[in-house]
């Protein structure tokens, strides 16, 4: 086991391959570079050196406004949302044991979006925006729970889950559309942006501070569950004979996944396909051990959303296209590629 490194803290332990550490470090550097680059790009270009000096407090007042107030929050949100969605997807793919599973397919994104749209329409005047993740997570739990229950018939087959997911998301969507059409126009615009997924106009106190606590708690919690995902991925029988409490662990893991995706959607909207793509890329890079897949997925998810958002806001000037459009434009072909790879399996 010389090519592994173990991290121990009391009862918790995580086994990391050396390779994971290298890949992780490289990706982290890439994410940092992408953050700096993305902060500099926009209607007014600012060189990476000036971005860095502004971040460390040496910039001109003008740069400070543009970078610290306008662009950096958006970049930070891209990282947080991308990482959360990717980890939520990684958990689902491990637990449901289906390469096509992702928050988009299992009703989580739809539910969270619906919860948030309801919040926008009925509670924005009376409640603080900080409650929006709670509404989104509640929506995610209710809709994915409903979906799971409807798809249950001596267990949940992946196909039935996908099929009923299509139906349930159509229902939820049409109710959202009904609200949008019936409601006032400014809420309609906001809700539709939300349903497509965009991190346009992110701010420190409203968005970053709302999402950060959730991510800061949920991501480490998930990492500590890594070995349980490894065991789940072997199948129920093997996991049970290895002494795992299969049902209980699965419930905890799914709850973590729903909470992560729900809080990410509350801020970023229904950004699709990141939860599908990132874990696949991670497994290609570091193998399928979940202790490695998880951090690498998180970094890849952050990188994907950073890139998507950068292209979305710079390539179509003067139009600011929602990032969700870009992730769908990359993600749907990726999904088809997966389908092609698994063509003899289904």
């Amino acid at each position: 086991m010389s090519n592994h490194q173990s991290i121990r803290a009391g009862k918790m332990s995580i086994l990391l391959e050396r390779r994971t550490i290298w890949v992780g470090a490289a990706l982290a550097a890439l994410v940092a570079a992408a953050m700096v680059l993305s902060t500099g790009m926009g209607s007014q270009y600012i060189s990476p050196a000036r971005v860095l000096s502004t971040i460390f407090g040496q910039g001109t007042p003008m740069d400070e406004v543009i970078i610290l107030k306008l662009r950096l929050p958006r970049v930070v949100i891209a990282v947080l949302v991308g990482a959360s969605l990717a980890v939520a997807g990684a958990i689902l793919q491990g637990v449901i044991r289906n390469p096509l599973a992702s928050p988009d397919v299992t009703g989580v994104t739809e539910g969270a979006t619906f919860g948030a749209v309801l919040f926008i329409f009925f509670f924005t005047d009376t409640m603080s925006i900080h409650w929006m993740p709670v509404a989104a997570i509640a929506g995610a739990f209710i809709v994915s729970g409903l979906l799971y229950a409807l798809a249950w018939k001596n267990g949940v087959s992946p196909l039935r889950l996908v099929l009923i997911g299509i139906g349930v998301s159509a229902a939820v969507k049409s109710v959202s559309y009904m609200l949008i059409i019936a409601g006032p126009l400014q809420l309609a615009d906001r809700s539709l942006t939300f349903m497509t997924g965009s991190i346009y106009g992110a701010s420190w106190d409203k968005d970053v501070m709302t999402l950060l606590p959730w991510v800061a708690v949920l991501l480490p919690l998930t990492w500590l569950q890594a070995r349980n995902v490894n065991i789940q991925a072997l199948g129920d029988d093997v996991a049970r004979s290895a002494g795992a409490h299969v049902e209980r662990q699965r419930l905890i893991l799914l709850a973590l996944s729903v909470a992560l995706a729900g809080s990410a959607v509350a801020i970023g909207g229904a950004i699709g396909f990141i939860g599908l793509m990132a874990p696949h890329m991670a497994r290609k890079l570091v193998g399928s051990s979940f202790g490695s897949v998880l951090p690498v997925s998180a970094l890849l998810g952050a990188l994907l959303l950073l890139a998507a958002d950068l292209i979305a806001r710079t390539a179509f000037v003067p139009r600011d296209v929602p990032a969700g459009v870009l992730t769908a434009a990359i993600g749907a072909p990726f999904f088809m590629y997966l389908l092609y790879r698994n063509r003899n399996r289904f």
Binding site: L163, I166, A170, S174, A182, L192, G272
Partner: protein, 329 residues
Amino acid sequence: MNVIKAVGLIGSTIILACAVIASIALGVTDIPLGTVWDSFIHNNGGTEHLIIRTARVPRALIAASVGASLAVAGAVMQVMTRNPIASPSTLGVNSGAAFFVILASGWLGVSGLQATTWVALIGATVSGGIVFFLGSIGRDGMTPVKITLAGAAMAAFFASLTQGLMLSDGRMFDQVLVWLVGSVAGRELPQLQAVWPYMGAGMAIALLLGRHLNALAMGEDVARGLGQRIAHIKLSSAAAVILLAGASVAVAGPIAFVGIIIPHIVRYLVGTDHRWILPYSAVLGAILLVAADLGSRYIAMPKEVPVGVMTAIIGVPFFVYIARKGRRT
């Protein structure tokens, strides 16, 4: 048996006629049947006659034509793919057509009914083609799982792109939103006349295919053994589906679930003979959409709910039931 089925078909047609008349007479302004009759016999140009001629009649006829087209397209697709939940909406044909229409009208400046219809047909062909290709690769050929997943992915893809186009162009937002959910309100008769030839052609192809679809329903090997030319049947079916679904989207937007529900109800009523399934689907599909449209006027009076929302609300429980019932799903 055939006599009973024929009587049933005539009976359903009469129900359809009643539904259309109700759709003309009822709404925010209820109009007595006598006035409806008068407006056709000797139109005096008054407000009520105007409402009937310019708003209510086109709306009822569009709902009926679109409902019939979508239901027949769904019935053909369900045989072709041997998949109980196939329909123009689940397999991405509708959303592809819708995306192309919005792209063409918003970004490329295409306008006019004929041009829009052609764009919708192209969109339906492109997305339908991709879904069918992806659904049939692999060792086992076309399996329900693969084609469903491919359809879901394409539908999500085009829906996301469409929303992006709308959001990036504020002017389009209002006009397109209602259309995007599927609506038959506020249309005029020329819009229907522009798509009728395509719907008619698609319907004619589908009805002529009935006997061949029966053979196909028994499986490709059996059909081939019975001397059917599979490739011909599949290509003509695909042409029918694209004409019917594309033309429907061009006039009413992507209305979901009509194409799934109706063929199931029809198979329950008349069995597995497609020579009966297709005409029944047409009539019952028309009844469903006319009725849903009528209902959509009453839910949030005096505002109207787009009929696509109504069909989703009716359709989803049914859809979940079918998905749970499916043998191997």
